[in-house]
């Protein structure tokens, strides 16, 4: 347990875990939090995990924790770690099981007063049109050969099949495809698990949410995203690479267990298992991880297609009339090869973001043309009873966090504890009283995802803004939710 005196307060939003906190740390840790949030964070072991990540060979800068940090396995959720390509490692635990779990946001021309009267009809239509729930399987049937095409080309596969358009790719991180993907590095077991699930939402904290813009903080940046007014309706999709990503992670954790012995890497937790980026094991993992990331981008685009279909049916207008355009799609569980300045020199790094979002500033390579003057949109969902934010990346994030910021609210309570507070049906009633209509396959699990189980995303985003690692653009509140 990292105690009060063992952390050094840098300013109101930055707390350092000194390198000498634990023998074996190669760099210091840094937590973005205010004093209130730090008290909550200290109650669990996530700070210890920040210190453990600092053991990774080749880690540069600091082992970072975003304000939505909570206890994960191996890496904390909300963790960011960058390692040198030349002599550093890549760790599947630094990406997590749900590879490229992420968020896609669509804008519409619709206003709240047009959608609210039809929200039940819309949510019910979406619920029947988008496969969701435990172990859900998609409506798409593909051969193993076609699966390899999905893994190699990602969202472009979905566009080729008519599930999206070129413009969607332009506003997707990596344009929806990581080129280092090699389907031969993905096991048949992983492919078998992923094939039937393509085009499905899944369960847990995955969701579809119809939102209404409540506040605009920067009109110019919002306008670049097609958001022009309060009351405008948005559509958010949160899911990842389903069973495929889990199997890839599991397969490579096993392989990395051997690599840790082979390369004599000392680690405080087996879940941090890793291999040099420049080793067969490291390269193979990155090639397989990229396949899972590509699958996730294809998955979210297929779901976006059915979302568009449902809107056109319910509102009797075509996609252009509805203005159903994608704002952006971000990954929040991923490892990326990026160039950053370290000690005054530009070097290539493997940036692990586990429960953290890339947040590149205006003018940065990798930001879509459309957002080059405002910065990359950062999509930060909150819990289903409160609100979500769209922010943009900053120069300060580039300097301090390898261009990263928070990814969501972050859990505050375990699922078991959350279930004891309220029943799922009561949670649904409470949301209904707030004007939020919820559909789910599993009413019991609603209790696990209730507002009180999460930190208030407004506080999390406020800390990221206070620390200068992202800048909020708009806030939106839910009108209707499908919880997977």
């Amino acid at each position: 347990m990292v105690r009060q005196g063992e952390m050094r307060r840098i300013d109101d939003y930055r707390w350092e875990i000194p390198q000498d906190y634990k023998s074996g740390m190669r760099v210091a840790g840094m937590v973005y939090a205010d004093s209130t949030m730090l008290d909550a964070i200290r109650e669990e072991q996530s700070l210890e995990q920040v210190a453990n990540v600092a053991f990774l060979p080749g880690i540069v800068g600091r082992s970072l924790a975003m304000p939505d940090i909570h206890w994960g396995y191996g890496f904390p959720i909300g963790g960011v770690a960058a390692t040198r390509i030349s002599d550093g490692v890549v760790s599947p635990g630094g990406v997590g099981y749900d590879i490229n779990c992420g968020v896609r946001l669509l804008r519409t021309n619709l206003n709240e007063d047009e959608v609210r009267p039809k929200i039940k009809e819309l949510i019910n239509h979406l619920f029947s049109n988008v496969p969701s729930g435990l172990g859900s399987e998609g409506k798409i049937r593909i051969s193993q050969k076609e699966m390899d095409d999905v893994l190699a080309s990602g969202a472009a596969w979905a566009v080729k099949k008519g599930y999206g358009n070129r413009q969607d790719l332009d506003v997707t991180e990596e344009q929806g495809c990581m080129e280092m993907a090699d389907p031969d590095k993905v096991s048949d077991r992983a492919k078998k698990r992923g094939m039937p699930q393509l085009g499905s939402l899944g369960s847990g904290n995955h969701f579809l949410e119809v939102q209404v813009v409540r506040e605009i903080y920067d009109q110019t940046a919002a306008a670049a995203m097609g958001i022009t007014r309060e009351g405008q309706v948005l559509m958010m999709i949160h899911t990842g690479s389903r069973g495929l990503g889990h199997q890839v992670c599991d397969d490579y954790l096993r392989l990395m267990g051997g690599a840790v012995r082979k390369y004599e890497i000392a680690l405080p937790d087996r879940q941090l298992a890793c291999a040099p980026v420049q080793s067969d094991e490291g390269r193979d993992y990155l090639a397989a991880m990229a396949c899972a990331a590509n699958y996730a981008w294809a998955n979210r685009l297929c779901i976006a297609h059915w979302v568009r279909e449902s809107f056109t049916k319910v509102f009797g207008k075509d996609i252009d009339e509805l203005g159903l355009e994608q704002i952006y799609d971000v990954a929040h569980n991923i490892a990326k090869i990026e160039e950053h300045i370290v000690d005054g020199k530009m070097i290539r790094l493997c940036v692990h973001r586990k429960g953290a979002t890339r947040a590149f500033p205006a003018g940065q390579k990798g930001v879509p043309d459309r957002y080059m003057s405002v910065g990359q949109p950062v999509l930060i969902p909150g819990d289903m009873g409160r609100c979500s934010f769209v922010a943009v990346g900053t120069e300060r994030a580039m300097q301090e966090t390898f261009g990263s910021t928070c990814h969501g609210a972050g859990r505050l309570q375990s699922r078991g504890a959350a279930r004891k507070i309220m029943r799922g049906s009561d949670v649904a009633n409470e949301l209904a009283a707030k004007g939020i209509y919820v559909r789910t396959d599993s009413v019991e699990s609603l209790a696990e995802e209730a507002s009180y189980a999460y930190k208030d995303v407004t506080d999390v985003v406020g800390i990221a803004q206070g620390a200068g690692i992202s800048r909020k653009i708009i806030m939106a509140a839910p009108l209707g939710v499908i919880k997977g």
């Binding site: 206890w71 191996g74 435990l134 172990g135 069973g243 375990s414």
Partner: protein
Amino acid sequence: MLIVMGMRYEVIDHTADIGIVAYGSNLNALFSNAAAGMLSLMVKTDTLRHDVTKTISLEAGDSETLLVEWLNELLYIIYTEKLVLCRFDILIDKGQLMSRCAGQRLEMKSRRFIREIKAATYHNLEIVAKDGEYSARIIFDI
């Protein structure tokens, strides 16, 4: 030895995920109880039939890895074969596991499923042997 599930494990709470502590008088029992514990978090097992049988063979360099592989194999079979194995006759010897298993085919949409467990993790996993009793703490990704 045939161990009927529903005994010898405890559920533990973990902020992001969920876990169990499993116990057993030997590795065979420990692995069986760990599987029972994991399944209890996933599916209502009390009325499951045992009409489908399957043999699982696994090999690993150490007991912890074998335990994670065993649990993940059961999950893999649930997701790809829609088969919930819930009775186990396990024999572990020198890093090799052989288990005759029985269970029931179950569609994922079945109301018997409680939640999706996606993987057993290696996080802080350690099999402890003390006073003739084995225990293991396992955290699941859900």
